[in-house]
């Protein structure tokens, strides 16, 4: 894995710093999922997350909306793809197929992983899962297709690619 990645404003950082910034608390959506990078490499990413109160299903319960899991998976698929191709090319999610196999709850600590398992031209295939960090129980699994090199700007860019 190359050591450095171009950051906003043209500064250079390592991939781990980039990954922490990508999922960090400065992002208004990701901050509601308290995401923190555990591992990043070309082989994949592992992220710790905790579902926030915003995703409660009922005011007086702790059950969380499963959609929070898709938000996490779609996000870390993007991060895993950047790390895999070693470029900050603009990318876009084409589709996602998510199986919800467990019940998430607010405050539950999650271990989330994602990796790129195939690239066909400009199409990347991703897969990942979200588990209860303590019990190891699978809560959701997902696969997705991503387009590499879209017309839009990359994640941190202020200019179109």
């Amino acid at each position: 894995m190359s050591e450095q990645v171009l950051m906003p404003g043209g500064s250079i950082a390592d991939w781990e710093t980039f990954g922490r910034l990508f999922v960090g608390s400065s992002h208004p959506l990701f901050s509601q999922l308290d995401m923190d990078l555990i591992h990043i490499s070309e082989m994949g990413v592992v992220v710790h997350a905790t579902i926030g109160e915003s995703f409660k299903v009922s005011p007086d319960g702790s059950e969380a909306n499963v959609g929070a899991l898709t938000i996490i998976l779609d996000s870390i698929f993007g991060l895993a793809l950047f790390a895999h191709i070693q470029e900050m090319n603009p990318i876009a999610t084409i589709n996602l197929k998510t199986e919800y196999v467990g019940s998430p709850s607010v405050g539950l600590e999650l271990k989330c992983n994602a990796s790129c398992f195939a690239i066909d031209g400009k199409i990347a295939r991703m897969r990942g899962e979200v588990r209860d960090m303590n019990s190891g129980t699978v809560l959701a699994t997902s696969t997705g297709a991503f387009m590499i090199g879209t017309a839009g700007p990359s994640f941190f860019s202020n200019e179109s690619a």
Partner: protein, 128 residues
Amino acid sequence: MPQNPAHNPIDDWLSLTSVEGANHRVHEMTPDDKHIGNPAIRAIHGGVVTLFLERIAELEISEEVAAPSRCAIVNTNVDFLRSAKLQPMFGAAVIVRRGRRLAVVNAKAWQDDPERPVGQATISLKIE
């Protein structure tokens, strides 16, 4: 994993409102900064679009299911057709099949033009 479709705080988080149309119910989400995915283009996050589609599918089924039965999403296949800008997003859901224990719903989201959807999904729900 059952989720009560009738009263759900996620509707507040999505700023979701629903209006009865001539042929079907139309739902509207008013996005803000907390729904953004890529800050460079200020687009709504794909996971948020998915959550919106799942939620309107739940609401559609909730009209068909008598309390105290509840529904839970089994799986979702979503296609992202265009970038969803930070502006109101609309959606409608159609029940493809509704059995005693399982339902399949198609949901579509659009912004400026219903004929140019930003996303569509097929959502399977179990009824408990």
